[in-house]
Symmetry: C2
Subunit: 200 residues, 2 copies
């Protein structure tokens, strides 16, 4: 704790706090993210934290967002490869330490939709926009039925993988699971979409 030459304020201090929180989060997970340690790591004390975030969870989420990386959707020219590649990316993310942290935060957020939203939005690889883009290109190539261009349908693959992630533990889903999702569910679904009203 060497005295600092000049006292940090405002954005500078806030960055340092967030950085410290993110580091602690990466090292110890949300369970190990304690306000005291974050403050100490940033070279200050809890007051600075509580002036900016209402509680530990809010700080945790903010720090997680700092850790989450940005993402470019693939464009391999084939729907199957685009989908697999995007799933693999998400799978890697969820299977990494970050995935475990995400679990903890989602858990802690409980039913607070507002906070949950801040978590789901991360990692564009899971958003509807990404999948609509991928699928849109596939439709243009004639690989998928235009009817499938609907968020509920377009995101089925990632939704199923997320479900795997949630119900199984965090460890990486084998590539076979990804292929199953794509080959057994996603591709059949977007290719041959029979009209719903065809029968009853």
């Amino acid at each position: 704790m060497t005295k600092r030459a000049t006292r940090r304020r405002g954005a500078e201090l806030e960055d340092a706090l967030l950085r410290a929180a993110a580091d602690e989060l990466a090292e110890s997970g949300y369970a190990g993210l304690t306000m005291d340690r974050v403050a100490r790591r940033a070279g200050t004390n809890k007051n600075a934290l509580y002036r900016r975030w209402p509680d530990r969870l809010a700080l945790g989420i903010a720090a997680y967002r700092l850790l989450a990386k940005s993402f470019q959707p693939p464009d391999t020219g084939a729907l199957r490869e685009d989908a697999l590649e995007t799933l693999r990316l998400a799978n890697r993310h969820w299977s990494s330490p970050l995935g475990a942290i995400l679990r903890e935060l989602m858990a802690a957020a409980g039913s607070a939709q507002e906070l949950l939203a801040q978590l789901s939005d991360r990692s564009a690889d899971t958003t509807a926009a990404t999948w609509l883009l991928i699928l849109g290109r596939a439709v243009a190539r004639g690989e998928a039925h235009p009817e499938a261009l609907h968020p509920r349908v377009a995101t089925v693959a990632i939704d199923l993988l997320r479900n795997e992630f949630v119900t199984r533990g965090a460890p990486t889903a084998p590539d076979e699971v990804l292929r199953e999702i794509v080959d057994e569910v996603y591709l059949p679904l977007v290719r041959a979409r029979g009209s719903v009203t065809e029968r009853g």
Copy 2:
């Protein structure tokens, strides 16, 4: 805490403890489930708990299982109705206070597959067996393609709903979401399953 005439032991005491834990869980959720309160409610102390369950989480899961109800798959004679009915049931469960508790427990279980398994197995409405049964009958009636009789495919509907439950907060998914899952995804998928290898 009036002295009991006779001191409870073994199974009798264990039941009382579990009952007390389940009641506390129902009243206060997992966050409010404290060992001291459970012990006091059962008219004993923490020793009795720690002799039986290694920690709070294990007790919480055991108590949750006590609360989870059993379930009979519907048989309405139409796949669409069977699926919708089963989804509605799960939706009610997940939207009830029990659903919130399940969230907390899944969160606390983190990546411990062993514990997670104890949670997913509950409520037969979410298991593969149930969906294979429903779908099997549909195949027999000619409502679904035999190829669809595969766990990954059969459980798609409930998997998607679980995903809703996890990413949104707990509040009940509107019936429209359920219908969307069934009409836009599930039925098209199980009816017209194009061969996967048809293309690449």
